[in-house]
C-alpha cells in the first residue's frame, strides 16, 4: 500500500471533521441524533482509535485497556471534586495519570509477546478491578462508585465564587458538558485524536510499528530496539483510553469499577475488529455500528417486534417474533456475540475489508480473483506455526 501524501491526508481530515461535526444533522433520519448517544459515539471513538494504535499497528492484543479507562474516569472525578468543575484540568490529569500507569504496566507486560502479553495485561486489569472494589475504596468509593458531592472542596472554583445550591455541573469555560455543546467538545477532541492517529499511521514511526507486527525478528536484526517502540505505542493508546475515561466522567460525573472489568476491554477489541483492525477509519465504524445497534436493539421489546412484523400474516409474525425476541432488549448481548463470531469467521478484516472487496469487484472484475488469491496466500504464510 502506498502511503498517502500530506495533501491527501489533509483532505481526509477535512472531510472527516465535516462528517463528525454534522453528525447531529445526518443522524436525524436514523433517530440517533440525541446528545447522549452522540457523546457516546465520540468518546468510544477516541477509545477505539487509541486502541487501534496498539493493536492495529503492532498486533499486540491487550485485554487490559479498560483499566486505563477506569483510571482516567477516577482521576477526572477527583479533579472535579477537588479542583474545579472545568473539565480541562480533569482531562489533562486523566491523560497524564493513565499515561503514567500505561508506562508502568507496559514496561512490565511488554517483556512478553503473544498470548503471554494478553494474559499479563488481563492480570493487571483484573488486579485494578478487584482492588477498586476492596482496598482502594477510599479512592474509588467501592461499589457505589465515585460521585460528586455538594460539599466537595473544589479549591479553584472557590477562589471565584461561593458554592451554590445543589450539585454543580461540568463545563468547559462556560460551555456545558451536557447536551449538544457537550457533544461538540467531545467531537473536537475526537477530531484531534483522529488527526494524531493519522499522523502516527503515516509516519516513519507508524511504519516501523507495522514492521514490528509483520516480523519482529527482522526488526531486531535491522538495528531497531523494538521495545521502546512498543512501549511508546502502548503509552499513547493508554493515554487515549485515559482521555476517553476522563470524558466519560466529564459528561456524567460518576466513576464505577465496572468500567475496568475485562469485558469492557473485550468491547473495545470487538469494535476495533468489527470496523477493521489496522485501518484508520475502521474502528470508528465499529464504534458507530455497535453503539447504534446497542441503543436500538436494547430498547426493543416483544411489543415493538409485533408491530414491526404486523405486515405479515399472524402466524408468520408470531414465528418471527419468537425467533427474533431472544436477540433484542436484554438479549442484545446475544446479538453482539453472534455478530462477533460471524465477523471473525467471514470478514476477519472487518467492515473495511468488506468495503475493499466490494470496491474491487466493481472496479476490475478480472483483477479481483488474483488479488484475493495473493491475500489468502499471504495469510497462510502468516499463520503461526503452533506447538513447535
Amino acid at each position: 500500500m502506498k502511503t498517502p501524501t500530506i495533501k491527501q491526508d489533509m483532505l481526509v481530515m477535512l472531510i472527516f471533521s465535516v462528517v463528525i461535526l454534522t453528525m447531529p444533522l445526518w443522524l436525524e433520519p436514523l433517530g440517533a441524533n440525541y446528545p447522549d448517544l452522540l457523546q457516546k459515539f465520540a468518546i468510544f471513538g477516541i477509545f477505539a482509535v487509541g486502541y487501534n494504535i496498539l493493536f492495529g499497528l503492532t498486533g499486540y492484543l491487550s485485554f487490559g485497556h479498560a483499566a486505563f479507562l477506569g483510571i482516567g474516569s477516577y482521576t477526572a472525578v477527583w479533579s472535579l471534586k477537588l479542583l474545579t468543575m472545568n473539565i480541562l484540568p480533569a482531562l489533562l490529569f486523566s491523560v497524564l495519570m493513565s499515561g503514567l500507569f500505561a508506562l508502568l504496566i507496559g514496561f512490565i507486560t511488554l517483556r512478553r509477546s503473544g498470548i503471554y502479553f494478553s494474559i499479563l495485561t488481563l492480570a493487571f486489569a483484573q488486579m485494578f478491578y478487584n482492588l477498586a472494589y476492596s482496598v482502594l475504596t477510599p479512592i474509588t468509593n467501592g461499589e457505589t462508585g465515585l460521585q460528586l458531592a455538594r460539599d466537595d472542596a473544589r479549591v479553584i472554583d472557590r477562589l471565584f465564587s461561593e458554592a451554590g445550591e445543589g450539585l454543580p455541573s461540568t463545563d468547559f469555560f462556560g460551555l456545558a458538558m451536557s447536551g449538544y455543546s457537550g457533544f461538540y467538545i467531545c467531537a473536537v477532541l475526537l477530531i484531534i485524536a483522529f488527526f494524531i492517529s493519522q499522523r502516527i499511521f503515516h509516519s516513519p514511526f507508524g511504519t516501523k510499528l507495522r514492521a514490528i507486527k509483520s516480523n519482529q525478528t527482522r526488526m531486531k536484526y535491522t538495528g531497531y530496539s523494538t521495545r521502546p517502540y512498543l512501549l511508546t505505542a502502548f503509552v499513547i493508546s493508554g493515554m487515549y483510553a485515559g482521555l476517553a475515561g476522563g470524558l466519560m466522567a466529564a459528561t456524567d460525573p460518576l466513576a464505577g469499577a465496572e468500567r475496568m472489568q475485562w469485558t469492557a476491554s473485550g468491547e473495545v477489541v470487538l469494535m476495533t475488529i468489527l470496523g477493521g483492525v489496522g485501518t484508520l477509519i475502521g474502528p470508528l465504524l465499529g464504534v458507530g455500528i455497535i453503539k447504534y445497534f446497542e441503543n436500538i436493539f436494547s430498547a426493543l421489546n416483544e411489543q415493538a417486534l409485533h408491530q414491526a412484523f404486523a405486515f405479515m400474516p399472524d402466524w408468520l409474525a408470531n414465528i418471527m417474533v419468537f425467533l427474533t425476541s431472544p436477540f433484542v432488549g436484554e438479549g442484545w448481548h446475544l446479538t453482539l456475540g453472534a455478530l462477533f463470531v460471524l465477523i471473525v469467521v467471514f470478514l476477519p478484516g472487518g467492515i473495511m475489508q468488506g468495503i475493499d472487496l466490494i470496491k474491487k469487484r466493481f472496479s476490475s472484475p478480472s483483477k479481483n480473483s488474483k488479488t484475493e488469491h495473493t491475500s489468502s496466500e499471504a495469510r497462510l504464510e502468516k499463520a503461526p506455526e503452533n506447538g513447535q
Binding site: 517483556r111 509477546s113 494474559i119 492480570a123 488486579m127 456475540g337 453472534a338
Partner: protein
C-alpha cells in the same frame, strides 16, 4: 495450626477445580493449538447440566395435598415420587452426582459440535482471531443460558447424606472441632480421580500416546499417516467433558449463574499460563499451587499485614512467574512465543 490445616484443605479443594478446568484448556491448546476463550462457558454449561437434570427429575404434577383436610389444597409432586415412591425421592436427592451420567454425553456432544462447527476452521488462523471467535462464542453461550434459566444464581442441593460437615480433624489428630464440608471433600477426591483418569488415558493407551505425540509435534504425527483431525475432535470432546464435569460437581458449592464461566475463564487462563502453555502437569501443579496461595491470602492474619492481597494474589503470582520464568512453571520452549 487448625486454621492452617483447614486453609490447606480449602486451597486443595479450590485448586482441584482450577486444575480440572485448566487441564481441559491446556489439552485443547497443546493438541489443537487453539486458544479457547469459550472454555469457561463449557464449565458453566456443565454446571447447568446438573441444573437441567435436577429440573428434569423434579418435573411435577399437581396433586391434592392430603395433609390439609379442611379445603382442597394442591401441591406439586414430582412424577418420580408418584411412580417410584421413596426410591424416587432418593433419586432426586442424588440429582447432582447422577447428573454426571447425564453430563458426559451432553458435554461430549457439545464439544463435538463446537469443534466440528467452528473451532476446526481456526486451526490455521492467528491466535488473536482464535481468541476473538471463541470469545464471541462464549458470549453467545452464556446469553442463551441466561434466556433459558434467568440471570439469578440457582442453588443446587448436595445429596442429604453428605450435606453436613465431616469431622476431618479426628483423622489427623486435631480434635473434633476441626470440621470440613463433606461435599467439598468429595469434590477434592473427584478432581483427583478425574485428573488421574485423564493422565492414565494419555499415558497408558495408544490413543493417548498419539495425542501426546501430537502435542509435541503435530505435523510429524500427521505425516505418519495418522488421522490427526479426527483425534483433535475427540480431544476437544474429552476436554469438554472434563471441564463440564468440573462444573457439574461444583454446582452445590457455587450456585450456577450464566456468567460463572467468564469468571472462571480468566482464572483458568492464568493457571494455564503459570503452569506453562501446553503442559498438562504444569496446569495441574499450578492449579493446586494457586488454590492454596489464594486460600492462605484470604486468612485474616495475612490480610491484616497486606490489605487486599486476597483479591490480587493470583494475578500477582502470574505476573511474577511470567517475568521470572517466561514459559511458566513447566512450559516447553517455543510454545506461543509470538
Amino acid at each position: 495450626m487448625d486454621a492452617i490445616f483447614l486453609q490447606i484443605l480449602n486451597g486443595l479443594d479450590k485448586g482441584g477445580a482450577y486444575a480440572l478446568i485448566a487441564l481441559g484448556l491446556t489439552l485443547v491448546f497443546g493438541t489443537l493449538g487453539v486458544v479457547n476463550f469459550a472454555h469457561g462457558a463449557l464449565f458453566m454449561l456443565g454446571a447447568f447440566c446438573s441444573v437441567s437434570f435436577y429440573k428434569l427429575l423434579t418435573l411435577s404434577k399437581q396433586v391434592k395435598d392430603e395433609s390439609i383436610t379442611f379445603f382442597d389444597a394442591f401441591k406439586e409432586q414430582p412424577y418420580l415420587e408418584i411412580w417410584f415412591g421413596d426410591y424416587g425421592t432418593t433419586i432426586i436427592d442424588l440429582a447432582v452426582p447422577l447428573s454426571i451420567l447425564f453430563a458426559i454425553p451432553v458435554m461430549l456432544l457439545i464439544g463435538l459440535i463446537m469443534e466440528r462447527g467452528l473451532i476446526r476452521h481456526f486451526y490455521k488462523r492467528t491466535h488473536a482471531e482464535q481468541i476473538l471467535v471463541t470469545f464471541g462464542l462464549a458470549i453467545v453461550l452464556q446469553e442463551v443460558i441466561k434466556s433459558f434459566f434467568g440471570a439469578n444464581p440457582i442453588p443446587m442441593p448436595a445429596p442429604e447424606i453428605v450435606s453436613g460437615s465431616a469431622p476431618i480433624g479426628v483423622l489427623f489428630g486435631l480434635g473434633e472441632s476441626v470440621v470440613y464440608p463433606w461435599w467439598r471433600l468429595i469434590y477434592l477426591l473427584f478432581s483427583g480421580v478425574v485428573i488421574a483418569g485423564v493422565f492414565a488415558f494419555l499415558n497408558m493407551t495408544t490413543y493417548g500416546m498419539v495425542v501426546r505425540a501430537g502435542m509435541m509435534d503435530r505435523e510429524t504425527v500427521g505425516l505418519l499417516g495418522i488421522d490427526v483431525e479426527r483425534r483433535f475432535t475427540v480431544v476437544f470432546g474429552l476436554a469438554a467433558v472434563v471441564t463440564g464435569l468440573a462444573g457439574v460437581m461444583y454446582a452445590p458449592i457455587l450456585p450456577p449463574d450464566y456468567h460463572m464461566g467468564m469468571d472462571f475463564l480468566v482464572l483458568s487462563f492464568v493457571v494455564v499460563v503459570v503452569g506453562g502453555m501446553g503442559s498438562l502437569g504444569g496446569a495441574v501443579a499450578a492449579g493446586f499451587l494457586l488454590g492454596i496461595l489464594q486460600s492462605f491470602a484470604s486468612m485474616n492474619e495475612v490480610k491484616s499485614i497486606i490489605p487486599g492481597i486476597d483479591q490480587i494474589i493470583i494475578y500477582l503470582v502470574a505476573v511474577v512467574i511470567l517475568l521470572v520464568r517466561p514459559r511458566g512453571l513447566l512450559g516447553r520452549k517455543g510454545v506461543m512465543e509470538d
